[in-house]
C-alpha cells in the first residue's frame, strides 16, 4: 500500500501549534520506513491519523492523507496499528476470539473467519497454542505477536508500529521484531515504525524519515546511513534514540570505577553474568555496614494470611533467601519473568509481608537512638518511618503520584516523615522547602514546579518519581525496572541521579532486565531463579509457555478463560440468565422463610450439575450468609412493631413480629444470592456477551465494550494493589482512623481512575484500529438455543413455581407489592 501526504496538518483543539504541519510525503508500497523525530514532532499523531483513529471534534485539519488514493477512514481494515503497551493490545480473553475480533468487525463471513484466524496465528508463531488459550497467560512478547495476528487477520496493506517493542523484555523484543518482518515479507505490507531502540530494527528498514518539530520532514535517507553517517548518529542520539554502538553513558561526567569495565554499548540480549557469589556475604569493593538482613526469607505476592476472598493463602514465589544489604552497595536483581524479583524488592522495602524467615533492619538503617524503638521488620513500620529510610521507585511513575503539582509532590515525602514513635515531623517546614528547591534544581524540573505531575513527559515523570522518593532522604533506594521503555536520554539522566545518590553514601537496589543499567552503576548482580533465558532471535517454543510462572491476577479464577465443563457450564448463557431471572422474580415477590428455603435447598441440590464442590461453594458464599444476618438484624430493629415487644431501646424496639420479618428477609437475601453465584461461576463472560448481543439484540458496540473492559478487571485489581503499596511508600498509607482510611481510599481510587482511563483510551484505539464500531459486523461464534437448553429454562421456572406454591400452601406467602 502506498502512502501519500499532501500539505497535511493537524492541530489539536486548544493547542496553538500544530502537531504536524505541512507534511508532504510519499511512501512506496512495501517500503519499510523508520520514523524518527524529536518528542512532540507528531510521530504518534501521524500514525494514528493513518490508522483513522484520530478523532477530535474541534481539531483543525488541512491537506490530504491518502492510503492507495483514499482517505484513511475509507480504508477501514487496510491499515493495522500496534501500540506500545501489550496489555492494551489484547481485546478478548481467548486468543482465537481476539484474532477473530478484527475479522468480525469487517463482517468477514463466519466460515472464512476461522481460516483467517489459524493462518494469522501461524504467521506469528503462536499456532502451538489452542484457540481457547487465555490471552492473559501470554508473556508481553507473545501478547504483541497476538496483536499482530489480529492485525494480519484483517489482511492489511500497511503496518503502523508505535514503539511495538519498547515495553518488552529482551527475548520478547526479538520475537516481535522477527514476527513483524516475516509478516511484512509474506504479505508485502508497507511498514511505518516508530521506535527508539534502533539497534533492534535499523538494519531491516529501508528508509529513515526524520520529522521536524513544528512541521515537515527534516531528513529522508536510506536507513543504512544510521550506521555510517556520524552527523546523523549524533542528531538521532540528541533526540534520545538508542543509536547502535553509541553509549549514552559517555555523555555523562566520568564516574569513579567506571573505567574498570569496557565502556561498550551492550545489546539488550547480552546474557546475564553469573554472579552466584552475590549470595550471602557480599564481595566487591567498599562493603559498608549491614543495613538489612534477610535469613531464610520467603516472599510471595499474595498475603501469607488467608483473605476473605480466597481461603487459601498464596504460595511463596521465592524461598530460603539469605541476603545482606550493605551501605553504599549497588545491587541489581535479575532473573526470568515471574521469578519473583519485584516481589522480593517489595518485601525488602517493607511493602509486602514476608511469608517465612526473617527480615531485619539494623540499627544503622533505623537511624541511631531515635530509631531504636522501631520494629526489626520494616513491614511493621509506619509509612511515616519507612519514607525516611527506604524509598521505592515503582516501574510506572504515575502509580506514585498523589499531589496536583510537582512542587507538592516533592514536598510530600519530607512532610510525611516523622520522628519514630512520635507524631513530630522530622523536618521543619523551612527544611522541607529547602529540600524541595534543591530537588527541583537537581531534577531539572524548576520550570515545571507548578505543573500537574500527570502532564509531564515520560522522562520528566521518571525523574520526578525518583525525586519524590529522595524527598525524605532515605538511605536505601529500591527501584523496580526503572529503565523499562525509557529513551536513551532519560536513561542517562536516571543513571546520573542514582550515581549522585551513591556518591553521597546511599544504597541502590534495582530489579532490572537492563544490562546497560547494571553497567552504568557498576552494580553487583543477584540472579533470581533458574536462568532459562531463551536465546535471542530463536523465539520461544509456543508449547513451552512460561504462563505457569506468571503470578495469577486477582479475579483470575472468576474470569478464567477456561470454560466450565460441567453440564450447566455447557448450556446457553441466556438460558441460564432467564432461569436465574425466574427464580429471583419469585423470591422478590414475597418475604417469607418458606419460599427462600425452597430455593436454598434447590440451589444446593443442583451443585453437582454445575460441577461445584460443596466445600468450595461454602467458602464462596459465607460472606453472604454474614450479610444476611446483618439484614435480619437491621429489620428486627427498624421494622414496624408487631406482637410482643422483646426489647425497648427507647428510640426503637425489637418485637416478635420484627424478628420474624427480619429472619425472613435474611433468608431471602441469602436465597437470592445462591442461584446467581452458581450461574455466574459457570458462565463465561464472552459467551454471555455473545448471547446478549446476538440473541437479546443488545447494542453490540456496548456489549463488546463492556466485555473488553471486563477483561481488564484483573489488571485493574493489580493496579489497585500496586497503587496502595506506592502510597505506603510515599508516606500516605491507609492507616489510622475512619477519616484517614476514607481519605486514603479516595486517593487510591483516584490513582486507579487515572490508570483505568489511560488503559481505556489505548484499548479504544486498539479496538477502533481493528475496525470496531463502524458498520455491520459478523460473529465468529453463533449464540443460539439448543434442545438441551430447554431444561435449564424449565428448571428455573419450576424452582420459582415451587417456591411460590410452597409459600402459599404453608400460609407464609407475604406479597411485597401490597
Amino acid at each position: 500500500m502506498a502512502v501519500i501526504a499532501r500539505g497535511w496538518s493537524w492541530t489539536h483543539a486548544e493547542r496553538e501549534r500544530p502537531a504536524v504541519a505541512g507534511l508532504d510525503l510519499k511512501i512506496a508500497a512495501g517500503e519499510k520506513v523508520l520514523l524518527a523525530g524529536p518528542s512532540g514532532a507528531g510521530k504518534s499523531t501521524l500514525l494514528h491519523a493513518l490508522a483513522a483513529v484520530l478523532h477530535d471534534d474541534e481539531a483543525e485539519v488541512h491537506g490530504q492523507l491518502l492510503l492507495d488514493g483514499v482517505a484513511p477512514d475509507q480504508a477501514r481494515g487496510r491499515a493495522g496499528l500496534m501500540q506500545q503497551d501489550p496489555e492494551s493490545q489484547v481485546v478478548l480473553s481467548r486468543i482465537g476470539d481476539d484474532v477473530a475480533f478484527a475479522a468480525e468487525n469487517l463482517a468477514v463471513p463466519r466460515e472464512q473467519i476461522w481460516q483467517r484466524v489459524r493462518a494469522a496465528l501461524t504467521e506469528v508463531g503462536l499456532e502451538g497454542f489452542g484457540l481457547d488459550h487465555p490471552s492473559a497467560k501470554l508473556s508481553g512478547g507473545q501478547k504483541q505477536r497476538l496483536a499482530l495476528a489480529g492485525i494480519l487477520a484483517m489482511r492489511p496493506g500497511l503496518l503502523l508500529l508505535d514503539e511495538p517493542t519498547a515495553n518488552l523484555d529482551p527475548e520478547g523484543v526479538w520475537q516481535v521484531r522477527d514476527a513483524v518482518l516475516a509478516a511484512a515479507e509474506a504479505t508485502g505490507a508497507t511498514i511505518i515504525l516508530v521506535e527508539h531502540r534502533l539497534e533492534v530494527w535499523a538494519e531491516q528498514m529501508d528508509t529513515l524519515l526524520v520529522l521536524e518539530t513544528g512541521g515537515g520532514i527534516r531528513r529522508r535517507s536510506p536507513a543504512a546511513e544510521i550506521f555510517t553517517d556520524p552527523a546523523l548518529r549524533e542528531e538521532l542520539g540528541a533526540m534520545g534514540l538508542w543509536v547502535p554502538g553509541r553509549d549514552p553513558l559517555q555523555e555523562l561526567p566520568a564516574w569513579p570505577g567506571e573505567a574498570v569495565l569496557p565502556g561498550k554499548a551492550v545489546l539488550p540480549d547480552e546474557p546475564a553474568r553469573d554472579v552466584k557469589s552475590a549470595w550471602g556475604g557480599m564481595p566487591g569493593p567498599a562493603p559498608g555496614e549491614p543495613l538489612l538482613l534477610a535469613e531464610g526469607l520467603a516472599v510471595g505476592r499474595h498475603s501469607p494470611k488467608a483473605g476473605w476472598r480466597s481461603a487459601q493463602p498464596g504460595a511463596p514465589t521465592l524461598t530460603d533467601l539469605d541476603l545482606v544489604i550493605r551501605r553504599g552497595q549497588t545491587l541489581g536483581i535479575t532473573g526470568a519473568n515471574g521469578a519473583g524479583k519485584s516481589t522480593l524488592l517489595l518485601t525488602l522495602a517493607g511493602l509486602l509481608p514476608a511469608h517465612a524467615g526473617s527480615l531485619a533492619a539494623t540499627a544503622e538503617l533505623k537511624g541511631g537512638a531515635a530509631g531504636a524503638g522501631l520494629a526489626a521488620d520494616p513491614h511493621e513500620w509506619r509509612s511515616a518511618d519507612l519514607v525516611a529510610r527506604i524509598g521505592v521507585v515503582f516501574q510506572e511513575p504515575e502509580h506514585q503520584f498523589v499531589r496536583s503539582t510537582v512542587r507538592e509532590e516533592l514536598a510530600l515525602g519530607a512532610q510525611q516523615a516523622k520522628v519514630p514513635g512520635t507524631a513530630d515531623p522530622l523536618f521543619t517546614e523551612e527544611q522541607v522547602q529547602d529540600r524541595v528547591t534543591g530537588l527541583l534544581q537537581r531534577l531539572g524540573l524548576s520550570e515545571l514546579a507548578e505543573a500537574n505531575p500527570f502532564t509531564l513527559s515520560g522522562g520528566e515523570k521518571r525523574r520526578l518519581s525518583v525525586g519524590t522518593v529522595l524527598s525524605a532522604g532515605p538511605q536505601v533506594l529500591m527501584l523496580d525496572e526503572p529503565t523499562f521503555g525509557q529513551d536513551a536520554r532519560t536513561f542517562a539522566e536516571l543513571i546520573s541521579l542514582l550515581r549522585e545518590h551513591l556518591d553521597s553514601g546511599g544504597t541502590v537496589l534495582a530489579v532490572t532486565h537492563d544490562a546497560d543499567f547494571l553497567r552504568g552503576l557498576q552494580a553487583e548482580e543477584l540472579q533470581i531463579g533458574a536462568t532459562g533465558r531463551a536465546a535471542p532471535g530463536t523465539g520461544e517454543q509456543p508449547g513451552a509457555s512460561k504462563a505457569g510462572k506468571q503470578p495469577e491476577a486477582p479475579g483470575g479464577e472468576l474470569f478464567a478463560a477456561v470454560r466450565s465443563l460441567s453440564w450447566l457450564g455447557r448450556r446457553n448463557a441466556l438460558a441460564k440468565l432467564i432461569a436465574v431471572f425466574l427464580i429471583t422474580a419469585a423470591l422478590v415477590m414475597t418475604i417469607d422463610v418458606v419460599s427462600s428455603g425452597v430455593v436454598i435447598l434447590a440451589a444446593l441440590a443442583l451443585l453437582p450439575l454445575a460441577g461445584i464442590r460443596p466445600a468450595g461453594f461454602l467458602r464462596r458464599i459465607w460472606p453472604f450468609a454474614a450479610g444476611a444476618v446483618l439484614a435480619a438484624w437491621g429489620t428486627a430493629i427498624a421494622a414496624e412493631e408487631s406482637g410482643r415487644v422483646l426489647l425497648d431501646l427507647g428510640f426503637t424496639t425489637i418485637s416478635e413480629g420484627s424478628i420474624t420479618l427480619g429472619l425472613a428477609l435474611g433468608a431471602r437475601a441469602f436465597a437470592i444470592v445462591l442461584p446467581s453465584v452458581i450461574v455466574f461461576s459457570t458462565t463465561d463472560p464472552t459467551d454471555l456477551a455473545d448471547s446478549l448481543a446476538q440473541q437479546l439484540r443488545l447494542p453490540a458496540r456496548f456489549v463488546l465494550g463492556a466485555l473488553a473492559a471486563m477483561r481488564l478487571l484483573g489488571l485493574l485489581a493489580e493496579h489497585w494493589r500496586t497503587i496502595g503499596q506506592a502510597r505506603r511508600a510515599r508516606g500516605v498509607g491507609t492507616h489510622g482512623g475512619v477519616v484517614a482510611r476514607m481519605r486514603g481510599t479516595a486517593s487510591q481510587a483516584f490513582g486507579l481512575l487515572v490508570q483505568a482511563i489511560r488503559m481505556a483510551t489505548r484499548l479504544a484505539v486498539t479496538m477502533e484500529s481493528r475496525g470496531f464500531g463502524a458498520g455491520p459486523r459478523s460473529w465468529a461464534r453463533p449464540a443460539r438455543f439448543s434442545a438441551a437448553d430447554l431444561p435449564v429454562i424449565l428448571g428455573g421456572a419450576l424452582i420459582g413455581a415451587l417456591a411460590v406454591t410452597a409459600a402459599v400452601l404453608s400460609g407464609t406467602w407475604n406479597f411485597v407489592w401490597t
Binding site: A71, P623, I672, V738, R741, L753
Partner: protein, 221 residues
C-alpha cells in the same frame, strides 16, 4: 468560558465535517465508560474491605447505614460527568453493578434492577439540563436523585427492607444525602482531577478543570 471553537474546515483530508457536538457515543466513549465502570467494581471491592470497619458504626441503628451507601452510586455520576452523553449514568451504574454481581454481590441478580434505577435518578437530572451542565450543584443533585431512586427501589420496587414508615424515610433521606456528597461532590472532584491530569483527551469532559465550579457557565460547546 474557554471553549473558543475553531471555525476551521475540519476533516481528515476528505473535507468531512465533524459535528460541533454529537450525542452519538464514540468508540472512546464506550470503552472509557466501560472501563470506568469496571474500575468502579474494583473500587467497590476495595471499599468493601474498609466497609467492615465503617459498617460497624451503624449496628445500633441500621436505618442510617445509607449514610455511606452513596459509595455505591458514584459510577453513575462519574460516568455522566466524564462521558457527557445520554445514557452514561445508567450504563456505568449498570455495568458496575454487573461486575459486582460477577465478583459476588449480596443482592444477586437484583443488582441489575437497582443499578438501573440508581443510574436513572442521576440520568434524569442531566437529561433535564439537556446534557449541557456538569457543575457541582448538578453533580450533587444527580447524586441525591440517584440515592432517592435507589431508596425507592430498596423499599417499593424490589423491596429489600421492611422498615416502619419513619425508618423508611430516614433510610431514603440518608441515602440521598450520602449520594449528594459521596456520589456528587467526589465524582465532580475526580472529574476535574482527571481533566487536570489531562487523561480525558478524547472525551467531551477534557476541559472540566477549567469550568466554573458552580452553575451559570455552560459546560461545553
Amino acid at each position: 468560558m474557554s471553549s473558543n471553537n475553531r471555525a476551521a474546515p475540519a476533516g481528515r483530508g476528505t473535507g468531512t465535517h465533524f459535528p460541533a457536538r454529537s450525542w452519538r457515543w464514540s468508540v472512546s466513549d464506550i470503552v472509557v465508560a466501560s472501563v470506568l465502570a469496571v474500575a468502579s467494581g474494583v473500587i467497590f471491592w476495595g471499599w468493601n474491605l474498609s466497609y467492615h470497619l465503617v459498617g460497624n458504626l451503624f449496628v445500633l441503628y441500621p436505618p442510617v447505614e445509607t449514610l455511606v451507601h452513596g459509595m455505591w452510586l458514584f459510577p453513575a455520576v462519574l460516568g455522566a460527568l466524564v462521558i457527557r452523553k445520554p445514557g452514561a449514568a445508567i450504563y456505568c451504574e449498570m455495568v458496575a453493578a454487573a461486575v459486582s454481581a460477577l465478583l459476588g454481590s449480596q443482592w444477586g441478580l437484583t443488582v441489575l434492577s437497582s443499578g438501573f434505577m440508581q443510574g436513572l435518578g442521576a440520568e434524569l437530572i442531566f437529561l433535564a439540563v439537556a446534557y449541557r451542565r456538569f457543575s457541582l450543584e448538578f453533580a450533587m443533585l444527580a447524586g441525591a436523585a440517584s440515592g432517592l431512586t435507589g431508596g425507592i427501589t430498596y423499599h417499593w420496587i424490589v423491596p429489600m427492607y421492611a422498615y416502619a414508615p419513619t425508618e423508611t424515610i430516614i433510610h431514603i433521606a440518608c441515602f440521598a444525602f450520602s449520594g449528594a456528597i459521596i456520589a456528587g461532590v467526589l465524582p465532580w472532584l475526580a472529574t476535574r482531577g482527571l481533566a487536570a491530569a489531562s487523561v480525558l483527551g478524547p472525551l467531551a469532559s477534557r476541559r472540566a478543570h477549567r469550568e466554573p465550579r458552580l452553575g451559570l457557565g455552560r459546560s461545553h460547546g
